[in-house]
Symmetry: C2
């Protein structure tokens, strides 16, 4: 049973919750916009479904509602930002803004972030660059759930990569994907229904291929994009590792198995190697390469040509970002369906802060 | 039947060939070093096996042996390089050097290249940054062999991505991979033996999964990393598309299905959308983020921890770059095996230029 809520309702409720956690009005507005953009774009696992998780992290003292977010090191085209244990939902927009300002000044900007928390969907941050005729990039490390090729042990997060590229008349190219075969959110859907997962998504605690969606509770792991060695899982492992290193080793955050868990009931790993979670952002002005109009007209041509590639019978070739944009349009008009267990969670959050939901 | 040649012998022969094509001594030395680094690192499909292909492209007038390689647009952290139809094997080192000089000056450098040709292995170029305590990146578009998710049509090349990251006592992290399930070189090995390919590598002309390694001759296609939609092929498609756009739309090269073919017997696509093939290079100084010693010590810790991740029984967890580095060590000592058909090819090249092989 889904309940339908308007975007405005979910965003407003989320904003109130962040205010009650002690966030400034500005931060609460920003954090709610970022969080609920996930629901709007159809990435339900990363939106209001996580709000109670953020509240519990705050209750456990792992989120600072009044962070002093600041640049701690910089060059003309790079910076390291210290998130001061703030919500990733406000740390990330700060860091992305730094990247874009550097791009405005010297062509490109690259910002690695430490001492942060989960930042919502990577795509939101990358897309900020589009308004300024820039290419935007965002990535983050996350709680270890993924086993490298040939490993039993969970060493990496689902470590997503987002890249947003502006076009002219066409809608922009927006890629936003976990570096695993399937995002954890997709597995959660199967867990709820107790349906088997496709081969190549997960392995059991001994590293054998499994289709049991509950395998992670018993020491199993998600698999890097590719699934197994024969199908290129070493490439997915490379991608997840690159995200981890850019986000956390460059910045001084915790990397690999030391990345702090999102769920508050899991203890922080002992002997941390850095501070908090890490992110990485990039912005490149397209006119730092060629005139923006020219670039965007060629992007129109690229998009038009790929959209009209001869499809497999009964299918349609998509451009990255198409499904999420259509979802956003539909959900703004028709409302956002929220699963019953998430509604229950949100009502508990409402009670906790004496709010209505 | 393999013949064994020393690295020195292959490199010297290759250098002579480039000199006879009209390259300067400097360019011939550079091009031979780049090309034979593929054989040294075990990526046999991209080394001397391609030399006759470069010669035929030159005979067809598609390679300029005396190119005027130059920066045509730049900002403090970005540039576009025009390769003047030169060998990618010399255009790429020029562009990577520009990226590193910009990184030295302002923290990072990003160079998109047009009007180039095939550049050998991406990893060679990315690794150039290691000597200067920089993170190096290299990517390129290539002849269309890959069908996007849900397409029958070949729209993208195998579009590799390489990322090289320095460490301290540990050898560096060097990822270098095609954005397809399997590189074309791996398929070529199966073609020679007429052995079936694993499911997920290729599709037939109608877009159905196939295991016939000769499928590409009949209108089939390589598949993006992931293989099919259920296993994340849309992510491999995103990666290949990003490489294409960064390499060719940013620079003004030919993109997507307009990318010029490597084989000289295929005509250039009509109505080109740009000039030649495109590449993209990046360099980031690690001390543009944190002190280089500190970063490299954490990379040692990262590498050590991942190398010691609990392995699946009978396996060993690898760090990206391990297999190629071991191959290079062995081949420098024991020589490089070259397949009989490649030896035959090289002897024909030798005859063509009245050289010994």
């Amino acid at each position: 049973m889904n309940h339908i809520y308007s975007y405005h309702h979910l965003r407003e409720f989320t904003r109130e919750v962040f205010i009650h956690m002690g966030c400034s009005l500005e931060h609460a507005a920003m954090a709610s916009e970022v969080l609920v953009s996930a629901d709007l774009r159809g990435i339900d696992s990363h939106g209001v479904a996580r709000l109670s998780g953020y509240v519990r992290l705050w209750e456990a003292g792992r989120i600072n509602p009044k962070p002093n977010i600041r640049i701690v090191h910089e060059t003309p085209s790079t910076a390291v930002v210290d998130g001061d244990s703030g919500l990733g939902l406000v740390v990330a927009p700060f860091a992305m803004e730094v990247a874009m300002q550097k791009a405005a000044a010297v062509g490109s900007g690259w910002v690695s972030v430490k001492h942060s928390n989960h930042f919502g969907i990577a795509g939101y941050h990358a897309m900020k660059a589009l308004e300024r005729d820039m290419i935007g990039m965002a990535m983050t490390n996350a709680s270890p759930l993924v086993a490298p090729t040939f490993a039993k042990e969970r060493m990496l997060g689902t470590n997503p990569i987002a890249v947003a590229i502006p076009a002219d008349q066409q809608p922009p190219f927006v890629a936003d994907f976990a570096t695993t075969t399937a995002a954890n959110g997709k597995l959660e859907i199967l867990q709820r229904k107790s349906e088997a997962a496709p081969v190549g998504w997960i392995q059991d605690k001994d590293g054998h291929s499994s289709t049991n969606p509950h395998e992670l509770k018993d020491g199993g792991a998600l698999l890097p994009l590719g699934g197994d060695r024969e199908h290129g899982s070493h490439k997915g492992y490379c991608l997840g590792a690159i995200v981890d290193i850019f986000s956390a080793v460059l910045s001084g955050a915790n990397y690999g198995p030391w990345a702090p868990p999102f769920v508050s009931f899991l203890p922080l790993p002992p002997d941390p190697v850095g501070e908090g979670l890490g992110h990485f952002f990039g912005a490149m002005r397209v006119d730092a390469f060629r005139p923006a109009d020219e670039f965007k007209q060629h992007m129109d041509k690229w998009i038009g040509r790929f959209r009209s590639a001869t499809p497999v019978e009964g299918q349609q070739v998509l451009i990255p970002g198409d499904p999420e944009r259509e979802m956003q349009k539909a959900r703004l008009e028709e409302g956002i369906p929220v699963l019953a267990p998430v509604v229950k969670d949100l009502r508990e959050v409402a009670d906790r802060f004496k709010l209505n939901f």
